[in-house]
Point group: none
């Protein structure tokens, strides 16, 4: 194969050289699959410090592929294609590119040899359809495929415009990226250090309140700080562009410290931390133990806590008291209190938290009782009303939450469990 040394191109241009990702495949337009390739390539470009501003998805259609190329040529200097490289009639990426750039396809003998060897290893003969995969633009370098048949190209289709093509099969694309494309971009002046990020995670503060608190930092240019909201939590992503991960972290760390200082205990962790893992850390620091009594969450709080490996060091277990008989029999909630106040009440949350702490003999006991919906609400006790109890040696406290009767059952249960963990986190921090 003609590609031991890739052509170094006229890429010495001082102009900003951004990339564009074009994913080819009708299955993406039908929603049959999620576009994991775009995410992978986006992460990889970021890690090389190569900016990209647009991603395009287009079907297996030559005219539309060419229209997408025409647009991308105007706004990027590196165009990365995935999809449409295989042996079937709807694999049209290479033919569309060749025609667009007026660069006829010719059979690459080295690729034919490689294909024949790959087919032989599977006990098969190279057929005409698969041989078509060796048809490449004469000027293009081969981007070898170490794990499949269809090769890609690294091709300076016009002066200052670099094209890379990959098959759509994710593990082939990744292997080709790692083995050849990433080193090429590194060695040919494309990689400008790295873009590295740290994500700070928050609970108990709205996205807009947090944004207004850290407002001046949102205007920083390197690192940049950007808020985003997930399912019920808020995050700030701090991204730095630098020579190395270490240099990026040197830019990120002071900003992260500043944000943590501004936001105080609203920030519960970073990156892979969860509210449950943070609570686990704090419990272990104090050698304390935890149990739970769950009604409307039905085990979801225990599930969150035990998602953290090693949680057996501080979590002993709990009681799922979905039915009132269980609240009475296993948690010792007084039948008269249940009758008088109802199962969803501060009084019952108190008795449940105290009951589970006593019966399991842990330092802390959390209880949750509420109305997750969609039915069971009333004007006085609407869907989304949840009481959380927190028992410790100091006694029992309760919190009342209104998570909103417009919220889904899943969401109300999730918010209940995470709010309970956050409350315990704050209590543990206060005692420090």
């Amino acid at each position: 194969m003609k590609s031991a040394k890739f052509k170094s191109t006229a890429a010495r241009n001082a102009e900003i050289r951004s990339a564009e990702i074009i994913c080819v495949g009708t299955e993406l337009l039908l929603g049959d699959i999620v576009n994991g390739n775009a995410r992978y390539l986006a992460q990889q470009l970021a890690s090389l410090g190569i900016a990209h501003h647009y991603q395009t998805v287009v079907g297996d259609n030559p005219l539309r592929i060419q229209r997408a190329v025409a647009i991308a040529c105007e706004r990027a200097r590196l165009i990365i294609f995935t999809g449409g490289l295989g042996p079937t009639p709807d694999d049209l990426t290479m033919a569309s590119l060749a025609e667009f750039f007026d660069a006829p396809l010719v059979e690459n003998p080295a690729v034919v040899v490689d294909l024949e060897a790959k087919f032989a290893r599977r006990g098969r003969q190279l057929n005409a359809a698969s041989r078509r995969q060796a048809q490449l633009p004469a000027e293009a370098d081969v981007l070898p495929n170490p794990v499949g048949t269809a090769p890609g190209v690294i091709w300076e289709a016009r002066p200052g415009l670099l094209i890379m093509t990959f098959p759509g099969v994710p593990h082939e694309m990744k292997a080709m990226w790692q083995a050849t494309a990433a080193p090429y971009l590194h060695n040919n002046g494309w990689a400008k250090g790295v873009i590295h990020s740290q994500t700070l995670k928050f609970w108990g503060i709205g996205e807009e309140t947090l944004a207004s608190k850290v407002r001046p930092l949102l205007d920083l240019e390197n690192p940049t700080v950007a808020p985003y909201a997930g399912e019920g939590e808020v995050k700030l992503r701090i991204s730095a562009k630098a020579e190395s991960v270490a240099a990026a972290n040197a830019l990120i760390d002071p900003v992260a410290r500043e944000i943590r200082k501004i936001s105080g205990n609203d920030c519960y962790g970073a990156d892979d931390d969860t509210l449950a893992s943070t609570v686990g850390e704090l419990l272990q620091q104090k050698s304390m133990t935890l149990s739970v009594a769950e009604s409307c969450t039905g085990g979801g709080l225990g599930e969150y806590i035990t998602a953290t490996p090693g949680s057996s060091r501080y979590f002993w277990g709990g009681i799922i008291s979905y039915d009132n008989r269980v609240k009475q029999g296993l948690l010792g909630v007084d039948a008269r209190v249940l009758e008088r106040c109802g199962a969803v009440s501060a009084e019952v949350a108190t008795a449940m938290a105290q009951g589970v702490r006593d019966r399991l003999g842990t330092d802390w006991g959390i209880s949750i009782t509420g109305i997750a919906g969609p039915d069971g609400g009333s004007p006085e006790k609407p869907v989304g009303l949840v009481y959380i109890g927190l028992a410790s040696a100091a006694g029992v406290q309760t919190q009342k939450h209104l998570f909103g009767s417009d919220r889904s059952r899943d969401r109300i249960r999730q918010q209940s469990a995470l709010s309970a963990l956050n409350w315990l986190r704050l209590q543990l921090l206060e005692q420090r």
Copy 2:
């Protein structure tokens, strides 16, 4: 661009009523998240018979958002935006569109009232940043957000150009699509018939085995039958193209019946059914009740069961016996059995299932004890070893599973809970 060969008026005409999806968010360009919204919208457009030929991803940058809009206007008559609708300074979609189409934003009083009510339900006051979400083009119709704060618009920005905007938070986008956008497209002549599907769900049978059993049906053309595998379960999607949902169902139903006949009890339900909801149905048919004793799943089984609204009719609760002290104290597992057999053993699973059934007084008791990893395995008891116990009036049985030491902690816990539910399902079916 030199592509005369591919240019055709037919292709141009085909695009006249086509749609384009534009996803706004720097997090997509950084590869922080996979673009699940594009997939969802693509599926939805397909199900309405609305062609779409391009998807674009662009960052939170007004100029680039506007450039993407300019391109989309040239090739689509329906542009669907997700992302950039929230209350923070980098939520720029609406302002960028307003500027592009020269349509000043004005505060929509009805949206302000809605926002105030939503904030009030959460015990908060509407602040200025969130109030900005009520700034919409004067001519646009509101696309209500039933589950979050940021509304979207349905807006004929130019004659013959329809724009719809959605927040990037997936469950909000989906709720808005279902409640308003899809019916709108249906009622306004966008939908060309329907593509309607029914998905049959299976447990305990591999994708290939199932496919070979129903092999002749996989060649059908309308409806089509396609297998696909999710996390640990297998599905068959039966899709029909027809004038209406009723006409599509008339094509689907005989095929669904045929598949159910062929697959017997391996098929546990369709569409929104879960193993837990199916078990719930069967328990209610028999007026029977259930309790659970969970070790390695830590509450996850209870969480699955109680995800079904109305599960309080048959699920009484359970005991999360993460620590051995809880297995002894609350479930009555003999300390000598724990010592001799270990917590992960058929003997302990038996005692846990019997213990929870006795103590809660239910017809059925399920127990789960296992090694979810990543640590805690040994040659005799590897990560992924899980015992399930099932107690009823007839006695206690146990099952031993090896879910694989290469599987993740999350996956082993999920498989444990779902396998337990499936076992109970089969037992309930046998007793019918």
